[in-house]
Subunit: 279 residues, 2 copies
C-alpha cells in the first residue's frame, strides 16, 4: 500500500502505525491524542518513587468521564498503595514483581453493591441484579473507566500494566480489600514511574484485515492475516531477545488446557459466592 508522506505529521503517523502493525495502514487527522493512543506499551519494571500529589484524583476524573451504560456507573476502584497489600496482591497474581515495585495498583471493581444499597435505603429490591447481562454491563463499565485512567496515566508520563491475574483468586482479593457482596475485582492496573534502565517497545498487533470487517464478518481473510502476524511477532520477539514462539502458538498455549486458566475455570462459582450470579 502506498501512503503519501507530505508533512512531518504524515511521517509521524506512518511511523506510529507501522510500529503497531509492522505494515502500512492509512490514517487521517494525526494529532497528539492519536499519538498518545498508538504509542501504548505495557510497563513491567518500575522505580519505587511515589506519584505526584493529586495523581490518583486525576486518573479517576478521567475514569469518571468514560461512558457508562444508562449512567448506572456500576464500577468502583480501590487505590492500593500499602506495601503489604501490594505484596499480597502480587502473590495472588502469580508473584508479578511489578505489583510490589510500583507505588500504586488500582483494583477495578464490577460493582452492583451500590445499586443494591440504594434500593435497600429506598425500601425496595432490584429484581434485575442476578443476570449475566447485569454483571457484563458492570464489567464493561469498569473496563471503559479503567482504560480512560490508563490513557490519563500515560499522558502524565507514567507507566501502566493491567493485571488480569487478580481473577486467579477473586475471593482473596475481596477479603484483602473488604469488598461488600455483589462487588468483584475484574482486574488491576499498576501505575508508576517506568524504570528507565528497562526499555519498553510497542508490541505488534494483528493486521486490520484480521480484526476489522466491513458490513459482515469474514473468516476467509484470517489465515493469511494471522500468518503475517506470526511473522511480525517472530521479528518482535527476536528484537526483544525473547524465546522464539509464534503468536498462534502463544495463543493456543494460553487456552489449550483447563490448567492454563490458572484456577479461573472456577470463576463462575467464585463469583456466585461473592454475590454475583450469572443467571
Amino acid at each position: 500500500m502506498n501512503i503519501p508522506i507530505d508533512t512531518p505529521q504524515d511521517a509521524a503517523a506512518a511511523d506510529a502505525v507501522f510500529a503497531r502493525y509492522r505494515e502500512a495502514v492509512p490514517v487521517t487527522g494525526w494529532n497528539p491524542v492519536l499519538a498518545r493512543l498508538l504509542d501504548h506499551r505495557s510497563v513491567r519494571a518500575y522505580l519505587p518513587d511515589a506519584l505526584a500529589p493529586d495523581t490518583v484524583e486525576t486518573l479517576i476524573a478521567a475514569a469518571s468521564s468514560a461512558p457508562t451504560s444508562s449512567n448506572i456507573q456500576a464500577w468502583s476502584v480501590v487505590a492500593v498503595t500499602d506495601p503489604l497489600k501490594r505484596e499480597a496482591l502480587s502473590r495472588i497474581a502469580g508473584n508479578q514483581a511489578h505489583i510490589r515495585q510500583a507505588p500504586l495498583i488500582l483494583v477495578w471493581i464490577a460493582d452492583l453493591s451500590r445499586a443494591e444499597a440504594v434500593a435497600t435505603q429506598a425500601g425496595t429490591q432490584l429484581d434485575g441484579l442476578d443476570y449475566t447481562e447485569t454483571f457484563l454491563l458492570a464489567a464493561i463499565d469498569a473496563a471503559l473507566a479503567a482504560q480512560n485512567a490508563l490513557i490519563a496515566a500515560e499522558s502524565l508520563g507514567l507507566g501502566t500494566v493491567y493485571i488480569g491475574a487478580l481473577r486467579n483468586d477473586p475471593e482473596a482479593v475481596a477479603r484483602l480489600l473488604n469488598l461488600p457482596p455483589r462487588a468483584v475485582a475484574v482486574f488491576g492496573l499498576v501505575v508508576g514511574h517506568p524504570d528507565p534502565a528497562v526499555p519498553t517497545a510497542v508490541k505488534p498487533r494483528l493486521p486490520q484485515q484480521a480484526v476489522l470487517h466491513r458490513e459482515t464478518y469474514s473468516q476467509e481473510v484470517q489465515p493469511e492475516a494471522i500468518a503475517r502476524h506470526d511473522l511480525a511477532t517472530a521479528a518482535f520477539r527476536q528484537e526483544q531477545n525473547l524465546p522464539q514462539q509464534s503468536w498462534s502458538d502463544l495463543l493456543m498455549g494460553r487456552l489449550k488446557t483447563v490448567e492454563a486458566l490458572k484456577g479461573r475455570h472456577l470463576l463462575r462459582e467464585v463469583f456466585e459466592r461473592l454475590g454475583i450470579r450469572l443467571g
Copy 2:
C-alpha cells in the same frame, strides 16, 4: 475544598473537573489528552455526512493499540455503513434514531472464533474456551479496544455513543453480520458528525468519594455522596429540560424488574446458542 488557580491551565482543569463532578477535585499535570478525556459527552443527533477517507482505519489503529489480555486479541469489529443494515440494527436497539442518522456504527465483537480457527488449522482443540473467564476476557478486550476508538473519534472532532441495546437480541445481530460461532456482539459504537443544532453537555458523575476507595472498600461514605449526586443530577436535568428524576430513581428503574432488562435476562442462553458457553 480550596484549589489554587495560578495559571490558565489550572483554570481550564478546574473548569473541566467541575463540569464532570459539579464539585471541586484537585488534579495535576493538565494536558490536551486529559482535556479530551474529561470533555466526553454522548452524541445522539448526527448529520448524515460521510466520514473523511481513512477514518475507520484510524479508529481501528487506536483500538489495536489498547492492551489485550496475554496478547490474545480476542476482539473483532464490524464497521457497518450500509443504510439497510443500520436500519436493522436500529430496530434491534429499540429504534434508536441515531443509528440510522450517523454514517457508521462499529459493532464490537467478543471473538473466540479466531482462537478456535487457529487451533483447528493446527489440528488441535482448545479446552479453555468454554468458561466464564474466557468470555469475560474477550468482552474486556473488546471494551478496552472500543474505548480507544471512541477517544480517537472524539480527537477527530467526531461524535459517538455506545449502543448496549444490541444485547437486546444478539442472535439477530449475529445473523445480520454473519458472525461465526463463538463470536458475539457486546455493544455498538455510533460514529458521525454531531448535529450542531443539538447541543450536548457533560453529564455529572458520582463524586469521587462514591467510586474511589483507599486501601479498602468503604460503604459508609456512599449514602452522603449519592445524595450529592442526586442533587447534581437534578440540576443537570433541569438545565437540559429533562423530566425531574433523581439518579437513584433512574438507577433503580433500570434494574428494578426483569422486564426492564428488555430481553437481556436471557443473555446467557442466547450466548450459549451462539457458541459462547459460560462454564
